[in-house]
């Protein structure tokens, strides 16, 4: 059985990493290269780097920035945002990307997905789908126009897979930055309709949401963006929680196996006795 994956999403707007809240409010975090460096050293399985301003501003991906950031990234790196042509995919691959995420272009011209898959293999194509819940059910969302389309996410995912997409990156727009947990119904809807791996994103408050999504759906990977920025070693800590119920990779020195956590998945204090034992070497008192 394939191991489940924990993926960090690095959302980049105007060349800085941001926290995204509901696809409209953005908080500035910092430089992509620092985010990738630390996520890697904290043991993340994969990183999805999404430039959300490139397509909107009709710009090219910022190759220099991606090249700089990819240098510090030793895990599979998916890059998305602003990809419209094949030469851009070539350039991204040489800048250090392992896969490309295609969203807007797939929606406009699905043959592009096939073209990339033919050149680099299906495993290289991550088709990204943004979804909103409307009164008439789940619908694919066009973030450039900020409106829902007619497409049903399950049908659309199937078409993407048929056209060569190797993975589906499924993002719930309604849950983005809300910390309400993943949208299980949506995830189940899409995972049931395709045979390729699905990465779910949107709404994770902490690692317990990842545990839930793995137990309740057939999703292959759980992705989160914002909460990985809040605490030290956020990835190793999260993985230590998920590992209690799922088979995942955890290879960092700091594995947090012995640490307890509170209901919000923040560390709690170790017992005073354990800390005292670590303080000095204990030698029995000599009695003569």
């Amino acid at each position: 059985m394939l191991k489940k994956r924990i993926i960090a999403v690095v959302i980049v707007k105007d060349d800085i990493v941001v926290q995204s809240i509901g696809f409209r409010k953005y908080l500035p975090i910092g430089k992509p290269e620092i985010a990738l460096e630390f996520l890697t050293s904290w043991g993340i399985d994969e990183i999805v780097y999404l430039d959300i301003s490139a397509t909107r501003d009709q710009k090219q991906p910022n190759y220099d920035l991606i090249r700089k950031a990819a240098k510090k990234c030793y895990v599979p790196l998916t890059v998305g945002g602003g990809i419209r042509r094949m030469d851009q995919v070539h350039e991204l691959m040489s800048a250090g990307a392992d896969k490309v995420s295609i969203n807007h272009m797939a929606y406009n011209e699905i043959s592009f997905v096939k073209e990339v898959a033919l050149a680099y293999g299906n495993q290289c194509v991550v088709a990204s789908i943004d979804v909103v819940k409307t009164p008439s059910g789940y619908q694919v969302y066009d973030y450039t126009k900020k409106e829902a389309t007619e497409l049903n996410p399950a049908d659309y995912a199937r078409r993407l897979a048929d056209n060569g997409a190797g993975e589906i990156f499924l993002n719930s727009v309604d849950r983005d930055g809300t910390y309400l947990g993943y949208d299980f119904d949506l995830i189940q809807l899409v995972t049931n309709s395709v045979h390729i791996p699905v990465i779910c994103c949107g709404g994770a408050r902490n690692a317990s949401d990842m545990v839930h999504v793995f137990s309740k759906t057939n999703v292959s990977a759980a992705a989160a963006a914002n909460f990985f920025h809040f605490t030290e070693h956020s990835v190793n800590v999260s993985k230590s929680i998920v590992r209690k119920s799922e088979i995942i990779r955890l290879e960092t020195h700091a594995n947090y196996n012995d640490n307890d956590l509170d209901s919000e998945m923040r560390l709690t204090k170790k017992d005073d006795k354990i800390l005292e034992e670590m303080l000095f070497l204990r030698i029995e008192k000599e009695i003569i």
Binding site: K13, D14, I16, V18, Q19, K25, Y26, L27, P28, I29, G30, K31, I34, A35, F38, S41, W42, N226, F227, H229, F230, T231, E232, H233, N236, T252, H253, A254, N255, Y256, N259, D262, R266, L267, T268, K269, K270, D272, K273, L275, E276, M278, L279
Partner: protein, 420 residues
């Protein structure tokens, strides 16, 4: 240059900043939470968190509080010891640029709160070497202070197995709204490297050119991930749980514990950073050269958001203080052994080309000498997001100098500190 329609931060803020469709910056938006959140409830949450960290055996401290003696130190210690009832170990990194007033304030803090304090004073020669290196590499004379202040408490936490560190305000939350208060952001090595240390870890300073080797940076090294994990070290910030108002807090501390204030060169705030000859002086002047704005802008933005200062009065203050020459440059140059020309040459390498250019006389000139000149034409959009003032004047107090006859003109490395 884009400037926030409410406060006066520009898009060039080094911590990064975003603007929404009303032209209001992320810092102002997150600041609005200060008036929306139930701070009583949040304080209860803080109490719950720290309750878990109380030492039961009586053999160790409950937590660590990093202090400098100035900048919120009194308020943090007051909250931790007298409000939360914890027994903290105070930890200080000796920043070398100490004023006599700073030494007095720190001693008074230690005595008034009757607490243990542990101080790290790195050899002055090492500090000078590192400062020469950081000034060359990143144009910073303050790297060692920030590196020391942010790492020494973590080293002490690891050494003495005290897992909780309590910090005051998170700069990223308070200035640019990097995180919501609800995110309850904690101390991370990532933030430290990127923002506090300007991307340079201690290890990155090792350089033959600067003569810095492994042995010089030992005191600035961050503990290994495994060590942090073994102890379970966490650093929490009080401003996620307490409505942060630095001015009001300092005023309370003046009343309660006799905190001493002092005049500063490049800002109107007489409460923060009075312990340092360089912070609102040479260091802040460098900040102006590098980023086009100084500490006064930080203070003005803070006071605008706290509704004590109008935008217009803020602009006046920025114009009054931003261009002020540092008073203590000569003293710094003497200390480090550098000429003024050498200093200027090195600093010029770090001027932001988005802000400065060389004119026909090969002199540096601001591209935009008055960033606020378009204020009138933007009046309607500014009015839409303007906050009503809650206080009519934004006045900072001066306390009586406790040692009026002393001429405070030399860095005090180690001082006796308390004068009656």
């Amino acid at each position: 240059m884009k400037i926030c329609n409410r406060c006066l931060y520009s898009e060039h803020h080094p911590l990064n900043i975003t603007f929404d469709e009303e032209g209001v910056c992320s810092g102002c938006r997150i600041h609005e939470e200060k008036d929306l959140l139930d701070w009583n409830e949040r304080f209860q949450k803080l109490k719950q968190i720290v309750e878990n960290y109380r030492n039961q055996s009586g053999n160790n401290y409950d937590c660590i509080v990093p202090v400098s003696g100035a900048r919120d130190s009194y308020f943090i210690v007051h909250t931790v010891k007298n409000v939360l009832g914890l027994n903290p170990l105070l930890v200080t990194y000796n920043k070398h640029y100490n004023t006599d007033l700073g030494i007095r304030n720190l001693a008074n803090l230690r005595i008034k709160f009757n607490l243990d304090i542990i101080t790290l004073t790195v050899s002055p020669e090492t500090v000078k070497k590192i400062t020469r290196g950081t000034f060359r590499k990143m144009g910073s004379i303050y790297w060692h202070c920030i590196a020391g202040q942010t790492v020494y408490p973590v080293q002490v936490a690891v050494k003495f197995k005290i897992p909780l560190i309590i910090w005051g305000a998170h700069q990223g939350v308070d200035q640019v709204g990097m995180f919501s208060h609800l995110n309850e952001v904690e101390m991370t090595r990532k933030y430290r490297k990127e923002h506090d240390l300007m991307g340079f870890e201690a290890e990155d300073l090792i350089d033959e050119f600067d003569g810095i080797d492994e042995s010089d940076i030992v005191q600035f090294r961050y503990p290994q991930d495994k060590e942090i994990e073994r102890i379970g070290v966490r650093g929490i910030y009080l401003n996620n749980y307490i409505r942060w108002d630095s001015k009001a807090q300092h005023e309370k501390m003046i009343e309660l514990y006799d905190y001493e204030t002092g005049e500063q060169t490049r800002t109107f705030d007489t409460y923060n950073d009075v312990d340092c000859f360089n912070y609102s002086d040479v260091h802040d002047y460098i900040k102006f050269i590098k980023h086009g704005y100084g500490k006064v802008t930080d203070h003005v933005c803070r006071e605008i958001r706290l509704r004590r200062l109008s935008r217009e009065d803020g602009i006046k203050l920025i114009k009054e203080y931003s261009m002020k020459e540092p008073k203590n440059l000569k003293q710094f140059l003497n200390w480090i052994g550098m000429t003024k020309n050498g200093f200027k040459f090195m600093l010029d390498q770090h001027r932001n080309s988005k802000i400065w250019f060389r004119n026909e006389n090969w002199e540096w000139e601001l591209k935009n000498p008055d960033p606020f000149q378009c204020e009138n034409s933007r009046k309607s959009e500014l009015e839409q997001v303007r906050l009503d003032l809650v206080e009519n004047e934004c006045k900072f107090r001066y306390t009586q100098n406790k040692r009026p006859d002393f001429i405070d003109d030399n860095y005090i490395l180690i001082g006796k500190g308390f004068y009656k």
